[in-house]
Symmetry: C2
Subunit: 345 residues, 2 copies
């Protein structure tokens, strides 16, 4: 079948996806039997356009490169709001990449629900709706005979959720622990090299790893959101962000880092979910990790997760945790998975 | 649909699978919608049995525990040879786990071809047939509308091939490098700790990691077979074992290990496949790996692979590379993948 794609939210990540799709269209058809057309793009700032004949990706990217928006796209309907884009267009796959809101999930949550209720598959990198409402969204997808995938919400395109749910299928996972925030791991790595917290943070900000207000990263909020997703998706939990025992890295001193080193350990901000006798515990805490553990050797902005399983013991995956192409890849792998699973019907 | 399973070769690995299936039957149905019955088991030493009503797994494992074989199974047909077991029984999924032969692929190769030509899906951990004939077997599976999967041929149940082909789908992989033989990595780890090669080998033999004749492991032959599989499956190659530039670890001295350590490196037996301008190069060579690289920190009998990709840069997976439950898990994850992909028809 042909996938008719609607993109809701046209920032860096979905632009990254469109660039990949444009450059790999032929390969994707040959290697994966993936046949698609981008029908609609909707963004409150960059403009919206829908065409029954599909959009010309080269034209779209040329406009973005030249003007930063798609308002001058020469054809198509430009009056539909995001909800109508989802409901009333000839689309069967919705990519939701609006800015995340971890308190309300909006506008992503409504977009996703609207798409699933319209019997359209959804792929998203939007952490808010998944952290807030995964069990409900999964049920809604099942009831409507479609699916929702969101690999990019944790570790960007590095296989994390799909690894646990598909490649490790059949294993029981009793623990997931890892480094899910690149900013804090970059700061800790710089502190290992001798910088104090303030100058390490400054370097992270200069390189664009940390925001002007770094609270969401350094206080562990971003990691906590991802911990909720790991708990609810992989462990079958029903927890909220408030259930995560959380401590950031702002209090960590060079002295503590050196003392850990003397004991052959490294301090890492570890997101961890355990399930024992059906009880889920979720934490985000700075921990001393023995130097021989794979997580201790994950440096800089790189992320990693270790899954503790019954059949395989520990399995660790290490890879990037952010970036526009990296997160665009997350969307792509989910889209290709949907094509594998639903594409033959 | 219901999967009617025939098991050809009933050694440690498929016994491991049967134990998992017996203990997780209910969970597999609930979590993955996997509905199955073991119809047939065929083994030249342990006995063969086929029942149109399916076999009683508890009885099978009780017989194995008591007598080491299934010859006294109280019901069913016991006169079918392995080919008839594949062709003439009411089965739709064949598990091929006979002993591997990397020169001829037999008897596994004939078993697999027979199953595919009979339009039955195949899951195997048998390295010989995949290393010798993957492109042909893939084509045969496609032509017959079925599939063949073989996660367990590399890194046992640790996701390696499925990771590359599915979780990393859409990426172009330009290099795969890793530690794919636990025996040699165990020996090198012991040498890091100060043992010389001979006593490290002896310890590996005492622990059952190395065979009495350790040639296949220490001379890199086992790694070379897996390298061929990586090259042909992930990179689309058509290479044979003779195409792999190969050197084992028998010539490595404690002095070399110490010298590497002084330069912040570790010597590892690295299987590597690169693809540049369509040309594939495959090697198995001892290499000095910088201590900051994830592969340098993989110690003991653990295995690991680093995939170099266009969208994600390096992605590394670390996990067990052998073991009966670990390889049984490889069979299980492939079976569940087939159920995801073909189970709804």
């Amino acid at each position: 079948m042909k996938w008719k794609v609607g993109i809701i939210g046209f920032g860096n990540v979905s632009q990254g996806l469109v660039r990949i799709l444009a450059s790999k269209e032929e390969m994707l058809k040959k290697a994966y039997g993936f046949d698609f057309q981008i029908m609609a793009i909707s963004d409150p700032v960059k403009g919206s356009v829908y065409s029954e004949d599909g959009l010309d990706l080269a034209k779209i990217m040329e406009l973005i490169d030249k003007t930063g928006n798609i308002k001058d796209y020469p054809e198509g309907m430009k009056t539909l709001d995001s909800i109508k884009m989802i409901k009333e267009t000839d689309t069967n796959l919705i990519i939701e990449t609006t800015p995340t809101n971890v308190k309300t999930g909006e506008p992503g949550l409504t977009h996703i629900k609207t798409a699933l209720q319209s019997k359209k598959c959804v792929v998203t990198t939007n952490k808010g709706p998944i952290a807030l409402a995964y069990p409900e969204l999964k049920k809604m997808a099942d009831e409507n005979g479609v699916c929702i995938r969101f690999e990019g919400t944790v570790l960007s395109g590095t296989p994390a959720l799909n690894l646990a749910m598909e490649a490790l299928a059949g294993c029981s996972i009793s623990k997931v622990q890892g480094i899910v925030n690149g900013t804090t791991n970059f700061i800790l790595t710089k502190m290992e090299e001798g910088k104090n917290y303030e100058s390490a943070l400054k370097e992270a900000q200069e390189l664009g790893y940390a925001e002007a207000d770094p609270t969401a990263d350094v206080e562990g909020w971003d990691a906590a959101v991802k911990t909720v997703i790991l708990a609810n998706v992989i462990m079958g939990g029903h927890i909220a962000i408030g259930d995560v025992k959380r401590k950031g890295i702002t209090g960590i001193t060079l002295d503590e880092i050196k003392k850990a080193e003397e004991n052959n350990k490294r301090i890492k901000l570890i997101a961890e979910v355990t399930k024992e006798n059906g009880v889920i515990e979720a934490t985000v805490l700075p921990k001393e990790i023995p130097i021989a553990h794979p997580l201790a050797n994950v440096m800089g902005a790189i992320n990693a997760l270790t899954f503790t399983t019954d059949h395989l013991g520990d399995v660790t995956i290490i890879g990037p945790g952010a970036g526009r192409v990296e997160t665009g890849q997350a969307l792509l792998t989910d889209i290709l998975a949907i094509n594998r699973l639903f594409g033959r019907s």
